[in-house]
Symmetry: C2
Subunit: 209 residues, 2 copies
Amino acid sequence: MESAETTRTARRNLSAAARRDLLTQAALRVMKRDGVPAATTRAICAEAGMPHGAFHYCFRSKRELYAALLATDITVAPNAARPVVDPGAPPVENLRVLLRAHWETVAADPDAQRVLTDLTGLALREPALSGLPAREHRGHLARIVAELERFAAEARVEYLRDTSEVAEMVLTVFSGTTTLWLAHRDDGAARETVDRFAVLLAGLVRPAL
Amino acid sequence: MESAETTRTARRNLSAAARRDLLTQAALRVMKRDGVPAATTRAICAEAGMPHGAFHYCFRSKRELYAALLATDITVAPNAARPVVDPGAPPVENLRVLLRAHWETVAADPDAQRVLTDLTGLALREPALSGLPAREHRGHLARIVAELERFAAEARVEYLRDTSEVAEMVLTVFSGTTTLWLAHRDDGAARETVDRFAVLLAGLVRPAL
DNA sequence: CCCAGTCCTGGCCAGATGGCCAGGTCGCTT
DNA sequence: AAGCGACCTGGCCATCTGGCCAGGACTGGG
């Protein structure tokens, strides 16, 4: 049991900040496993191996926990999965590989997507947190833009539209595919959809001069 | 006050089924206005102008209310907004008009989308309801397929791919756009995204022989 | 050794929630 | 009128929630 080990290791002599961190991570684990509504202060503390009292020693309120959670990147971005680009291959194929790779990292942790969605909805009702989802959105967009530009350089292509426009479209495709996937849970269909959009989006690419 | 009027009108002599219906509608109203978590049995009954006891007279449990809610179409489909198709105009433009019209009906009631999203997530955790989101998805798909076929006939075009494939892509675009819109709340950006995809999807269309 | 400051905890609280039920009311048949 | 079955209700309950706090435990500096 990792939690038990963690408990024993970190039981005492922890700074309040460190505990805050532990609790934040524990909250995310509970939310992924049992859903956002199940992440009560008690459940979170139990997951972190702390007594209930510890929660309000580290956080003024539960809202503060939500804020801390949305401030961290919930969706881990394993950029390690950099797809290999072959300048000789047609752009369509390269784009397909790129989108597929990105999709795999998204689909690898669908529960994180669910949590992010729920948390976003929750934050939108809380005036103090209502700005965070937009921030998260811009972050994703920036990451995709960077990836698209790297791709363009390596595959020796350029985009017919502004890169940010293409990125917005890519994000839209991923968001939509994720939503639908959560409903039907059909991995194959999701992959096919991504592939089809790759073909379509290839229309926005041409060999660099 | 409409609720008071409703109350007075429908106060007594109602069949259990009618009350079920009233409560279901009231629940949807509360969820749209205050969020799904705020839709407690008490809040729902208050919205419907009924005493709390009425709830468990009509529903065995709250889960049954969720089921009833997901069984009905949450997203009202005002098919009245049939866009005018001009066979003379280029398919791209016709497709753009079609998607825009559809998008407007979606974006007209964003709270319904939020509720649907949250409810879907909730249902996925409940084994008894886990099938409903997929059902909902198939329903949407079917509606889009029908619309696409009508469009093809009126605009005298045909699709290069299976209509269901095109529909899945359209649904993906709408889902994604909705999700992103919920985060950034930028009407213009959403519309532009839809327009851009219309151009892209026009690549899957050719004049009918 | 002591002391001050931080860390830490179990227990308590008020409020809300889903669910249940004894008993009242109403309209319809006989 | 009498009864009967469906309709309806207010109040009660166990449980759980976020939040609070008095006081114990530990550590490092003097």
